[in-house]
């Protein structure tokens, strides 16, 4: 019985985090790192995983502490918890993957003010038990990473003619503006619009299926 219930829960969390409540494509949170780090696929994935790691651990700790944190200072407490984990991630990256740390630069410390993490702490972890908070963190993190991966793939392939550093076609045929800041805004806009139309089609099919039943 218990097993079955947790199975249902996981698929619900997965659907929420990746599709119906995707942090970037639906909630439009965390746009700054999304636009800034998706010039190459490697950077995008690196940013996604770093932020996801902070999100999972901060969700866990905040959920464990939810009965001890006084309501009036909760935001400050969340920020301290998040900043602590960001510092850990920052130091680990500096020690083990210095190249990634260098290319992400400013945006690693800026995970502290990433709205997704604070929003999940406030909206979910502060009200739920540790296990579901971790699951929420995992799938929100995956949703965030997938969105970054999609945008980074579009931008790297079209803008530089490479995918994860492998050359797909000569750089002369690449649309260079897509790698520039202007291209970042435009391609994210188009990606969100495309995602909207896909989820609208899925919704329609689900409703049709229900009606037929």
């Amino acid at each position: 019985m218990n097993k079955k219930q947790s199975g249902i829960n996981i698929s619900k969390f997965a659907k929420e985090g990746i599709l119906t409540n995707n942090p970037i494509l639906i909630q439009i949170l965390g746009t700054c790192p999304t636009l800034a780090t998706t010039t190459t696929v490697i950077n995008g994935i690196g940013m996604g995983i770093s932020a996801a790691a902070v999100l999972i651990f901060s969700n866990l700790l905040i959920s464990l502490l939810r009965k001890f944190i006084p309501k009036q200072v909760r935001i400050a407490a969340y920020v301290v918890v998040i900043a602590g984990f960001v510092t850990i991630v920052e130091m680990l990256l500096k020690a083990y993957i210095p190249a990634l740390d260098k290319s992400l630069g400013l945006f690693i410390p800026l995970i502290v003010v990433n709205c997704i993490i604070l929003a999940r702490a406030e909206a979910f972890a502060s009200k739920n038990d540790p296990v579901s908070s971790v699951l929420d963190g995992v799938f929100m993190g995956i949703g965030f990473t997938i969105a970054l991966f999609l945008l980074a793939t579009i931008r790297e392939v079209l803008g530089a003619g490479t995918f994860m550093g492998l050359e797909l076609f000569p750089v002369e045929f690449a649309v260079k503006i897509i790698v520039s800041p202007a291209g970042a805004f435009i391609s994210l806009g188009i990606l969100i619009a495309a995602f909207k139309s896909i989820t609208a089609i899925i919704d329609k099919k689900a409703k049709k299926g229900e009606a037929e039943k």
Binding site: T31, C32, A76, T87, E90, P109, L118
Partner: protein, 193 residues
């Protein structure tokens, strides 16, 4: 003097926080609906960013560096900014109620504005002196204000347009922001020596 002038121009135009550094996009997309509110938000950010540039610079160089605690930079800076915003809010409420009426509602949002923390960190990473840090903080915020005020004007027009249904809302705003970013990219052609 030349260096200061260069920092000013770079912060406002060529390396605009919103359009080339991607800092402060959340308030940029969220708040800017009317030019007047966008201007209020921009002024509040300018105020906080200038002050926080000073305080974080002093704390980093005179406390963290002295005791080899550089790795605590992120935690220290975010706490300083949060405390500073709270303090400014209380101070304004008591002594400058007129200003509080105008800017008060934007202040709580500023703590999680990545532009403020971003400016503090860039000041340290670039190794600016205190004066340069103040100039950089203030003028980046002015660049941010410029961006959100212009964009609020664009947004007013978008509200009357009828884009395809799936582009309504954020997607069309992002595309418009992209076009504005292209205009700002034009400033990068200006070389300042």
């Amino acid at each position: 003097m030349g260096e200061i002038f260069m920092i000013m121009i770079a912060a406002v135009l060529t390396e605009n926080f919103v359009f080339s550094k991607f800092l402060g996009i959340c308030p940029f997309l969220g708040v800017s609906d009317k030019p007047s509110t966008a201007f209020g938000m921009g002024m509040a950010v300018t105020f906080v960013m200038t002050l926080s540039s000073v305080v974080t610079w002093i704390v980093y160089n005179f406390i963290l560096v002295q005791y080899n605690l550089e790795y605590l930079r992120t935690i220290a800076f975010i706490l300083i900014i949060a405390a500073l915003v709270q303090f400014i809010e209380m101070f304004m409420k008591k002594y400058v109620p007129a200003l509080y009426q105008a800017l008060g509602i934007y202040l709580p949002l500023i703590t999680t504005n990545c532009a403020v923390l971003g400016a503090a960190i860039i000041n340290i990473d670039n190794g600016y002196s205190l004066i340069n840090a103040i100039i950089y903080g203030a003028f980046s915020a002015i660049g941010f204000t410029l961006a959100i005020v212009i964009f609020a004007g664009v947004r007013e027009r978008i509200n009357f347009a009828s884009p395809p249904a799936i582009f309504k809302g954020v997607p069309i705003s992002l595309v418009a922001a992209g076009l504005l970013a292209m205009a700002f990219a034009g400033f990068q052609g200006i070389e300042i020596v």
